[in-house]
């Protein structure tokens, strides 16, 4: 394909098809907190197509003007760039519209079709559509079916395109994910489906590929000969807040581990892709999941630890336990903590354990990948038979995004004791500009038709394939000791014991 004469590869960023973004569930939290601020910032940074509109689709009666006012309030609160730029907003809001309909109402979809065609005529959006399903998973199939039946989704049209962004979780386990995939692929091909996992839109996650494959020194160390183990932590100090219903249905495994943590793991463990295309990267990620050792019954009871927070203290303030949260069953057996050990049985990683832990109401908010290196032969620099600290490469995903390396160093003076020191790179300190929000990047990619940072079907299904036996085991063997960790601690003691049996310890973040 010939390049556009006015585009310069690697430099021009603006050239994208005109389109309309329709948000289903436009009155929900995500739209106000994340989606609209992201679209606003994209526009403000000149990263939206020049012919563009956003249409909120929801059940509550509301005028375009009401919706614009509401969104202005939300953007003023949640935008990463504040205060709101009134001059920009006054133009931007003219591209915001609202459409009232139930998700199952045929007339609503027919009216939407007419409305979008009118907007095409007014704004030159050329029939291109993105449908963002910010709704409960149970509506995914129904909405996609209705969109298709009313001619709003078109797969094979050369002159225009339609894409659908689907929020996580994609299914509840392997059978339901397969079922959902079968349902939606009746109407959409894989190239039209964008399964969003906002972790993949984070700058530090994207930097993982640059860090690993754009530097000569790390890739040669990245194997079982030099790496002792890898720890991936996704810790939250907050509880479940107002998401009681959601959490009772999903739990931490479905909310965080099956998607965010497995994505991080595949990015750390994958082989170099043949190129940077979406498919080449997805292929390598899938290979990691295929090589993952299936979980056994022994793992279920010995190397996988689940937990649920009880009352405790966060930031010096007393907080309630999970079972006392709103919309939560007082006898709930849903997990809010999970620690597990996984192995990847391939040439590069055989014998290297990957320890994953995630939890709510832990002492702090921290997402980190730590690569812990093997120790050098313990002949030199021993002190009373105590070994020196291992080298650790820590990639901080959030907050305080950056990379640090722990190395051992001689303390100045005649006695030569060894002291670990940290070389630290912080994004915030080096790149002063505030990083775009993950949703900004992902919406932008979807407009461009680039699915690299979205999860492909086989990735999602493989991930479920690994974890579904565990869910089935838990269903038959409910936890007996919940709550088993105090809010504000690093989780149940069994998790510490699990890793200690391997002669290792969780990193203190």
């Amino acid at each position: 394909m010939n390049a556009h004469p006015l585009e310069e590869p690697g430099r021009t960023t603006r050239s994208m098809d005109p389109c309309i973004l329709v948000i289903f569930g436009a009155t929900g939290d995500l739209t106000g907190r994340k989606l609209m601020p992201s679209i606003y910032n994209l526009g403000k940074d000149g990263l939206l197509p020049s012919n563009f509109a956003v249409v909120g689709f929801a059940r509550r009666p509301k005028s375009h003007e009401d919706f614009r006012k509401e969104m202005k309030g939300e953007v003023s609160k949640y935008s990463r760039t504040l205060p709101l730029d009134d001059s920009y907003w006054s133009s931007f809001e003219k591209q915001i519209f609202y459409h009232i309909s139930e998700f199952d109402d045929d007339a609503g979809y027919e009216n939407l079709k007419i409305f979008l065609s009118q907007l095409d005529g007014q704004l030159g959006t050329k029939g291109n559509r993105i449908f963002y399903l910010s709704v409960q998973p149970k509506y995914f199939t129904q909405i996609i079916q209705k969109l298709s039946e009313h001619g709003l989704i078109y797969s094979h049209d050369k002159d225009k395109w339609s894409r659908v962004i689907i929020e996580k979780p994609f299914g509840r386990d392997l059978p339901s994910a397969v079922q959902l995939q079968e349902n939606i692929e009746k109407y959409l091909n894989e190239k039209q489906i964008y399964r969003i996992d906002h972790y993949l839109g984070k700058e530090t996650v994207q930097n993982l590929l640059v860090f690993r494959f754009g530097n000569g020194i790390f890739e040669s160390l990245w194997n079982n000969k030099l790496i002792d183990h890898v720890q991936i932590t996704v810790a939250e100090d907050i509880g479940i807040g107002t998401r009681g219903h959601f959490y009772e249905e999903e739990g931490l495994l479905r909310d965080v581990l099956q998607n965010h943590m497995m994505q991080l793991l595949t990015l750390v463990a994958m082989e170099p892709p043949v190129n940077l295309s979406g498919d080449a990267i997805h292929d390598e990620k899938v290979k990691v999941l295929e090589a993952m050792r299936p979980l056994s019954h022994e793992d279920f009871s010995k190397t996988i630890i689940r937990g649920q927070y009880g009352k405790g203290f966060i930031g010096g303030e007393k907080v309630i336990g999970y079972r006392e949260e709103k919309d939560v069953n007082p006898k709930s057996e849903v997990e809010t903590y999970l620690a597990m050990r996984l192995f990847i049985d391939n040439w590069r990683w055989t014998g290297v354990p990957f320890y994953l832990r995630g939890g709510k109401r832990l002492p702090k908010r921290a997402t980190e990948i730590a690569v812990v290196f093997k120790d050098p032969p313990g002949i030199l620099f021993k002190s009373q038979d105590k070994k020196n600290e291992s080298n650790v490469l820590a990639i901080r995903i959030q907050p305080d995004e950056g990379i640090s390396m722990k190395i051992n160093c001689k303390v100045p003076g005649p006695f030569s004791p060894i002291q670990p020191v940290k070389m630290d790179f912080r994004y915030g300190s080096y790149f002063g500009q505030s990083s775009p929000d993950a949703y900004e990047r992902l919406i932008w990619d979807c407009i461009l038709g680039d699915s690299t940072l979205f999860a492909r079907t086989d990735e999602v299904l493989h991930s479920w394939k690994i974890l579904t036996p565990l869910l089935q085991y838990w269903e038959k063997n409910p936890a007996k000791d919940f709550p088993n960790y105090e809010s504000g601690t690093w989780g149940p003691k069994e998790a510490d014991e699990m890793i200690a049996k391997d002669g290792r310890a969780w990193r203190l973040l």
Partner: protein, 337 residues
């Protein structure tokens, strides 16, 4: 920027170290992604260049080595240090700023002052804010240190000579850029985006006349107002490879737009369509886009030239690897004028 502290050249690093020891209490990180050497004459425009440096710092931290040459005065060499922070936000980082003031023939000492204070292992960019066709002595020395040379065509009386000079520089494997080219980035991106679809591109290819209005209102810093408009003309000519487009460059006066800034562009053809891109009278960063054909008139659309506001165009021009092919093609077109 903190107050400048005069120090002898040999004590620059020590003086900075002391300054940072004090700043450590404020939890500021001393950061630098590259060395930025700036060369300018001592004149009113040197203050303007300082404001450009501030824009760069606002986006990316770097060690600034700012050389001011007073060609009228007798020999002198003064060096001073300070710390420069991004404006308008509570930044976690700050940067070293080293000021080198030279008079008369002391300019020859400049290189010897610079060499020991460049941070090793980081790229070095040179912002040469004087006419490269006229002054070669120091430039030829600094070129060897820099991985990317940014010039300012505003300092050149003849854009064609300037273009030839930059092309010659690039031929010697130097990466080059120009501040005025960087200033046109938002306009180029907007035009590229507006004619992105195949239908719009067909219309662009059928364009017969392009009118570019540029700001000719007098400012202390700009006198060659036509340069950005000429760059856009050369860019479109070289990209479209079409001989039969008539260009008209019209000076207009707007006080709220930077000297030489583009005010509007209009594309039209006898077939009966026209596109116009006009700077809003209320907000110079807002562009109102209109498209008309014989049959219909689209609703106006808006585009925001946010990159100019953020100074990102300039920093992008500096940190991009290599020289823009579009820029080189535009230079070749201008060199033929």
């Amino acid at each position: 920027m903190s107050a400048l502290t005069l120090v002898p050249p040999a004590q620059i690093e020590d003086a900075l170290k002391k300054m940072w020891e004090k700043l450590a209490k404020e939890n500021k990180t001393r950061a630098s992604l590259f060395n930025l050497i700036v060369y300018t004459h001592q004149n009113p425009r040197s203050d303007f260049m300082r404001s450009r440096v501030q824009k760069i710092i606002d986006n990316f931290p770097c060690r600034v080595l700012f050389i001011t040459h007073d060609r009228k005065k007798r020999e002198y060499l003064k060096t001073a240090v300070s710390v420069i922070t991004p404006q308008g936000k509570d930044a976690q980082f700050a940067c070293d700023h080293i000021d080198i003031g030279v008079g008369g023939k002391s300019i020859k000492k400049t290189l010897f002052v610079l060499l020991p204070i460049l941070i090793p292992d980081l790229p070095t960019y040179l912002l040469w804010a004087e006419n490269p066709c006229k002054e070669r002595d120091l430039l030829s020395e600094l070129e060897k240190l820099a991985s990317h040379l940014i010039f300012d065509s505003e300092t050149s009386e003849n854009l064609s000579h300037f273009a030839k000079s930059l092309l010659a520089c690039h031929k010697e494997k130097k990466e080059v850029g120009d501040l005025n080219w960087a200033r046109t980035e938002s306009w180029r991106e907007m035009i590229a985006a507006s004619f992105f679809s195949s239908e719009n591109l067909r219309e662009l290819m059928a364009t017969q006349s392009i009118v570019i209005e540029y700001n000719a209102a007098k400012t202390p810093f700009f006198i060659h107002f036509k340069i950005q408009a000429l760059y856009l003309q050369a860019w479109l000519t070289s990209r479209l490879k079409k001989k039969k487009i008539s260009f008209k460059l019209k000076p207009v006066k707007r006080k709220d737009v930077m000297g030489g800034g583009i005010i509007s562009m209009e594309f039209s053809a006898k077939k009966g369509f026209s596109y116009s891109f006009c700077t809003s009278k209320e907000d110079p960063h807002k562009i109102i886009i209109n498209r008309e054909t014989k049959e219909k008139c689209d609703l106006p659309r808006h585009f925001f030239l946010s990159r100019d506001v953020l100074g990102l165009s300039l920093t992008k021009e500096i940190i991009y690897k290599g020289t823009s092919n579009h820029f080189l093609d535009a230079l070749k077109t201008i060199a033929k004028l």
